[in-house]
Symmetry: C3
Subunit: 269 residues, 3 copies
């Protein structure tokens, strides 16, 4: 598994290359995911019209597909952008928000996984378990429990679609079905703000744009993002100030604090 | 009318039960209403696709319909979700943003009131007056005056549609047409941030999910929310910091501060 | 060119008249542009349904058309609102977000310029250059370089469509093709937050609603907004706290600080 030096290098590459991250995403978090992408050092662009997504993604370093406020026309645009990204070798990161909560969400996420080659799925335990075919409990878009060991569930989805899966939670888990990383960064305040999961997906995509090894990209991204959460929590007085400080903290992360603070560990399957 | 002890108990139930609040709402405030719902202790989910709203609302404790950036397809989804909520006995809270400003808004709000059994309407004076059939002055979505006594106007709408009406302003008024509460919490800074009205609607719905008496639910919600506004205003330096601190304050409200700070009074008709 | 006294008067008129600013805009920045409009002293309303835009704009002091997350149906609504605004003599401000990045954006911006009489175009250098027919480099919606002198490029677009053009950057440039103003307010932190360009457009529209001279309106708006950015930067710890403080700073600008701090200069063509 990657050490902190390699992880910090991935992060440094985002900042020096400033990849464009095309995001077809939900309307709840759009402002936050655009801002967190900027804070990570990349350039966000939100575009969902079928008439432009193939052209837009062609200029991007990575594509985010987030189904948080999906509708059929948006899924159609996601499929078009995803296929074009596949043709061009641009990594696609899927955030299956609320998979398991409604048939539309579960089936749309499955369709995206079946018709687009997804590089990384970033979700919570219930979403990932649902897509792996394991019973899970979800309330709206919040995972409120899932059966089974997190890395087992993640690995099952990873093998099913030949992709990397990143499950965020108290401890994040990243696996491609054979290699496993656990990331012990983060803070409970992150669960009190809407969109912190979606924001982590944007950071993962930013790293995937500059690092071919998807497990390394996702692990580095989640460690840096979680570390920013820890730093933000030191000064926050609640969810509102935490949200503002999270942007500050990610933008302000130095290579030194990354090297000292990231807690990525190899896990045995 | 409810005393502070009862009101604080309603609020405590939101935090212990964490009801899911399904919101079909406007794109301006989605992030803020999701976050304020979390701060109140409930779980927000935003979903507007006709293909999923009936399934999503079935898992919810309350449904918010907010027409702030409406379009005909969204109103159709609101009607479908609202009817399903009615079948299942799930309370529906309507925020008729901008009723009176355009025919589309006025007629859509009326259609929702006619075809869905609405538990609570939460609006400003101009919106409520318009729906009650009283001439009012509205500039875009901002009430800039309304004729008549606030509680009279609210009661007229409440009787017309057999619902509870909550009019927010300097003093909030809640009535079902026979009982009246006035809430003297809140702060002028709340009028300087967009979506503070919409956010109050989400808090009202969070309380309605755990309290069958709609007048009690709305009064408790507006008192707690207004109190949070007062606390946030103490440290705010303007509208931007106020918005962040409002989330902090609502999330941080203790039962003690609720008991001491809520100003709900019974009003004589 | 206008002096600080005149510019401060424009700003004072926004606050005393509170014009309604109808914005058909993108979903990334809607909350921020509504809030900055309130901070400037005007009243925002977001409405994009074809069924209501003509009625809504008739009540407005200015109309903003922002194509940041456009789709064909939204452009249709923009055309309808724009034509109605033209009939009524209401100034129309265009923010051609991402023109140059995709054909849909470039062609939609051109269509709006051809079919609606636009009073002011507010964009970055790449967007303005693209519409002026000059080769430019854009990454998503971020200008990453443009050829030619900024005021030359702006003037070319201004003459092409007989409008005022405001190009924001380190130094802002406003011109109608014969008069030129440069504004040296602003701060590098503004480039680290998404939507700061879109927010400047809303402030420009707020001033255009109360000042017939479009060059004066745009210059006064950008100077005040940039000055707010400078003030916010003094206390900000990064992009997140900067965003909150920017709202505080604009809302808190006194006439004295405007007179002392605005840096508007006449430029020779």
């Amino acid at each position: 598994m990657l050490d902190n030096h390699q992880a910090a290098q991935i992060y440094a590459r985002v900042r020096s290359r400033r990849p464009l991250i095309h995001q077809i995403t939900n309307f709840v978090v759009m402002n936050c995911t655009a801002n967190i992408t900027l804070c990570a050092g990349a350039l966000p662009v939100m575009a969902h019209a079928l008439e432009e997504v193939e052209e837009m993604v062609a200029a991007a370093g990575a594509l985010v597909l987030n189904i948080g406020t999906l509708w059929p026309g948006q899924v159609e645009a996601m499929l078009a952008a995803g296929r074009r990204a596949n043709q061009l070798g641009i990594p696609v990161v899927l955030d299956p928000v609320g998979a398991g909560a409604t048939r539309l969400r579960t089936e749309s996420a499955r369709q995206l996984l079946n018709e687009v080659s997804i590089s990384i799925v970033r979700g919570n335990l219930a979403e990932v378990a649902t897509l792996a075919g394991i019973k899970a409990e979800i309330s709206g878009v919040e995972s409120i429990g899932g059966s089974g060991n997190v890395s087992e569930v993640a690995a099952q989805l990873a093998r099913l679609y030949n992709c990397t899966v990143a499950v965020t939670g108290a401890i994040d888990c990243v696996t491609d079905g054979s290699r496993y990383a656990s990331i012990a960064n983060g803070h409970p305040l992150m669960a009190t703000v809407t969109g912190t999961g979606c924001m982590s997906t944007s950071v993962v995509a930013s790293c995937a744009a500059v690092e071919k090894d998807a497990v390394h990209a996702a692990a580095a991204a989640l460690a840096a993002y979680g570390l920013a959460g820890q730093i933000a929590a030191e000064k926050a007085q609640g969810p509102g100030t935490f949200q503002a400080l999270l942007f500050d903290a990610l933008a302000g992360l130095s290579q030194e604090s990354l090297l000292a603070g990231m807690r990525i560990e190899e896990e045995q399957a």
